[in-house]
C-alpha cells in the first residue's frame, strides 16, 4: 500500500510520528460516576475496537500463527526454514534492493525539491501547486502508473522513441528494460518523491528563519549553516521518512504486477501467486512469506517512529 498524507494538512504533529500527549481539558468533569454515560461512551468506541480486532489484529495474528504450523496443525519451524530456498531469498533480496533504491533516491530528490520549494524564495503559487500535485502523484500509484510508464519508457514509449529517432540512442539496446530493477525503481519514484515532499516539507518549514540569520550574522557561509545547523536538525526527519518510503515500496504490488505480470520475482508478487495458488502450494510457506513482509515493514516503521519522536523536539 501507499502511504499518503493529506495535501495541505496543516498541523505538524506527527501523524506518522508519536501522538500529542493529551494533558488537556477534555478529561471531563462530567465523567464522575454516571454508569449510563460510561456504558454509552464505550458503545461509541466499541465499533472501532471490534473492527480493528476483526480486520487488523486477528488476520495478522492468524497468519503469524499459521507460519509456525504444519498442514496437520502441529508446531513446526519448517515454514520459516522454507524461506531459505534460493527463489524466496532472491525475491526478498530484489524486493529489498528495489525498495531501498527507490526510497533513497526518492528521499534525496524529494528533499532537494522541498528545499528548493520552501527555502528557494520562489513565488507563493509555486509551492501550493507543487504540494497539490504531490498529493495527487503520491496517490497515483497502482495499475495506471504502470500504464503511464509503459507509454513513456516502454519499447514504444514516447521518450524511448524520441531518444532513438532524434538522438540516435536506443535505451533498450543499451541494456535498459522497464521490466527490471531500474525500470521498477524509476517507476516507483513517481509516488516516492511526492510522498517525501509531503512529509519532509513541515520539517523544512520548521527551520526557523532566525537560525540562518543568526548563522549569517556570526559569519557562517551557507555551506557552514547547512553543515552545522540545517542538516543536523533535518537529519532525523530525513532518515525517518526514508524508512517510511522503504516500507511503502516494499508492500507495493499493483504497479509491479501490471508492469511485469508475474515475471519479476519480488516478494509481494510471489505472495500474490501463492494466494492465487499458482506457486509454492503450501499455505504454511505462504504465511511465512507474509510474516517476513510484516517483520521487514514493521521494522522500517519502528525506525521511523523512534526517529520521528526525536525529530519532533525541533518542530515546536
Amino acid at each position: 500500500m501507499d502511504h499518503r498524507d493529506k495535501p495541505g494538512g496543516d498541523d505538524r504533529q506527527g501523524f506518522w510520528g508519536t501522538q500529542v500527549t493529551m494533558t488537556d481539558t477534555t478529561a471531563s468533569p462530567k465523567a464522575r460516576g454516571k454508569k449510563r454515560a460510561i456504558s454509552f461512551e464505550w458503545l461509541g468506541v466499541a465499533p472501532f475496537i471490534v473492527f480493528a480486532i476483526m480486520f487488523l489484529i486477528l488476520p495478522t495474528l492468524y497468519l503469524i500463527g499459521a507460519a509456525f504450523v504444519d498442514q496437520q496443525g502441529n508446531f513446526t519451524l519448517d515454514n520459516i526454514w522454507g524461506l531459505g530456498t534460493p527463489q524466496i531469498v532472491a525475491a526478498y533480496w530484489i524486493s529489498i534492493r528495489i525498495s531501498a533504491a527507490s526510497a533513497f533516491i526518492g528521499a534525496l530528490i524529494g528533499f532537494a525539491m522541498a528545499l528548493a520549494l520552501i527555502r528557494g524564495r520562489l513565488p507563493g503559487g509555486v509551492r501550493s501547486t507543487v504540494m497539490t500535485f504531490s498529493g495527487v502523484a503520491s496517490n497515483f500509484a497502482g495499475v495506471p502508473l504502470a500504464f503511464a510508464f509503459i507509454s513513456t519508457l516502454g519499447r514504444l514509449g514516447l521518450v524511448t522513441i524520441i531518444l532513438k529517432t532524434v538522438f540516435g540512442f536506443d535505451i533498450y539496446k543499451a541494456g535498459f528494460n522497464l521490466l527490471s530493477f531500474w525500470g521498477l525503481t524509476i517507476t516507483y519514484l513517481y509516488f516516492q518523491i511526492p510522498l517525501m515532499i509531503l512529509i519532509i516539507a513541515p520539517a523544512v518549514d520548521g527551520l526557523k528563519k532566525e537560525w540562518s540569520e543568526a548563522a549569517q550574522t556570526l559569519g557562517a557561509s551557507p555551506w557552514q549553516f547547512w553543515r552545522y545547523v540545517g542538516l543536523p536538525i533535518l537529519w532525523p526527519s530525513f532518515l525517518g521518512t526514508l524508512s517510511l518510503l522503504f516500507a511503502n515500496a516494499f508492500g507495493a504490488i499493483a504497479t509491479a504486477y501490471a508492469l511485469t505480470g508475474s515475471s519479476l520475482n519480488i516478494v509481494p508478487i510471489l505472495l500474490y501467486a501463492q494466494i492465487r495458488g499458482d506457486a509454492l502450494q503450501n499455505p504454511g510457506l505462504g504465511a511465512a512469506l507474509a510474516l517476513g513482509m510484516i517483520v521487514i515493514t514493521g521494522f522500517a516503521n519502528v525506525i521511523y517512529l523512534v526517529i520521528a519522536s526525536r525529530a519532533e523536539r525541533w518542530m515546536k
Binding site: 502511504h3 499518503r4 493529506k6 495535501p7 495541505g8 496543516d10 501523524f15 506518522w16 501522538q19 493529551m22 481539558t25 477534555t26 478529561a27 454515560a37 461512551e41 464505550w42 461509541g44 468506541v45 465499533p47 472501532f48 475496537i49 480486520f55 487488523l56 486477528l58 488476520p59 495478522t60 492468524y62 497468519l63 532537494a112 525539491m113 528545499l115 528548493a116 528557494g120 500535485f133 498529493g135 495527487v136 496517490n139 497515483f140 497502482g142 495499475v143 502508473l145 504502470a146 500504464f147 503511464a148 507509454s151 514516447l158 518523491i193 516500507a247 508492500g251 504490488i253 499493483a254 504486477y257 501490471a258 505480470g261 500474490y272 494466494i275 504465511a287 513482509m293 510484516i294 515493514t297
Partner: protein
C-alpha cells in the same frame, strides 16, 4: 549576498519534468490508436466498453459504502476518545497506523484464510459476503487517513463546550454526535471521504484476490490485452485522482479557521 534563484528553479523544473513527461507521453500514446493521425478513439473504445461501466460503477458503490462505514466507525470513536477516554488515545492511534505497517496483500491473505467458507464468519462463502468483506478491507486501507482527517477536524472545534451545551438542552449522545458534532466536522469528514475514494477506486490487490469485478482488476486486464486503451485509462484515472484531491483542497477553504484550543 543574496543566493540566486537559479538553483531552486533548476531543481524544481528538473523534478517537475520527471512528473510531467510521463503524463504527456501517456496522453500522446492514448491518441495514437488510429494510424497516421491523433484521435480520441481509445477513449471512445474505453467508454463504450460495458465492462468499463460495470466495473467502474461497482467500485464507486463499494467506495461509497466504505466511506459510510468508515465515518460510522471513526467519528464516534474520535469523539469519545477526545471527550471521555483520552487514555485510550495512544492505543487507538496505534491501531490506525497498523494499515500502514501491514501491507495490503498480507491483510487480504489473512482475510481469505480467516473468513473462508468453512469458518465461523464465512465472508468469502457468498458473493454478497465477499462484497461486504471488500468494503471492510477498504475501510481498513483508508483508516489512517479517515482517522487523521476527523481527528484534525475535531481539534479545531470545542467538543467539550458543544457537548455540554447540547446536554443542557436535553440531547443524548447519539443526537449530539449526529446533529452537533458531525455538522461541525463535516468538512474534515468529506476530506477523508474523498481521500478514501481516491485510494479505493482503482485498488487492485485486494479486489483481485477476493475475485470481485472491480475497476482495478479490470484495469489490469485491459493492460495485459490492449495497446492504447491502457494509456487512455491511465489519463482517466489521473483525472479522477486529481478531482478527488482538488475537492479536498477546495473543502479546506471552508474549514473553520479558528481553533477552540481543546489541546
Amino acid at each position: 549576498m543574496k543566493p540566486s534563484r537559479f538553483w531552486p528553479w533548476f531543481t524544481l523544473l528538473l523534478g517537475a519534468s520527471y512528473f510531467i513527461i510521463p503524463l504527456i507521453a501517456t496522453f500522446e500514446f492514448s491518441l495514437r490508436m488510429r494510424r497516421g493521425y491523433y484521435s480520441f478513439d481509445a477513449y471512445l473504445s474505453v467508454f463504450s466498453d460495458p465492462r468499463f461501466q460495470a466495473t467502474f460503477g461497482y467500485s464507486v458503490v463499494i467506495g461509497i459504502f466504505a466511506i459510510i462505514v468508515g465515518v460510522l466507525i471513526v467519528v464516534p470513536a474520535v469523539y469519545f476518545v477526545r471527550l471521555r477516554l483520552p487514555w485510550l488515545r495512544p492505543f487507538v492511534e496505534f491501531l490506525t497506523l497498523l494499515p500502514l505497517i501491514i501491507p495490503a496483500i498480507v491483510l487480504v491473505y489473512g482475510y481469505i484464510r480467516l473468513y473462508n467458507s468453512s469458518s465461523l464468519i464465512p465472508f468469502t462463502g457468498s458473493a454478497l459476503g465477499t462484497d461486504v468483506l471488500l468494503v471492510f478491507a477498504y475501510v481498513t486501507l483508508a483508516l489512517p487517513y479517515m482517522y487523521r482527517a476527523v481527528d484534525t477536524g475535531m481539534r479545531t472545534i470545542d467538543v467539550q463546550t458543544l457537548t455540554e451545551a447540547a446536554q443542557i438542552m436535553g440531547a443524548n449522545s447519539a443526537t449530539i454526535i449526529a446533529r452537533v458534532i458531525l455538522p461541525n466536522v463535516l468538512v474534515a469528514v468529506l476530506s477523508g471521504a474523498f481521500l478514501t475514494f481516491a485510494i479505493v477506486i482503482g485498488e487492485f490487490t485486494i479486489a483481485s484476490l477476493l475475485n470481485r469485478p472491480a475497476f482495478g482488476p479490470y484495469l489490469q486486464n485491459i493492460g495485459a490485452n490492449r495497446a492504447y486503451e491502457p494509456a487512455a485509462l491511465a489519463i482517466i484515472s489521473f483525472i479522477i485522482t486529481w478531482g478527488a484531491m482538488g475537492m479536498i483542497n477546495l473543502l479546506a477553504r471552508f474549514a473553520p479557521r479558528t481553533s477552540a484550543r481543546t489541546d
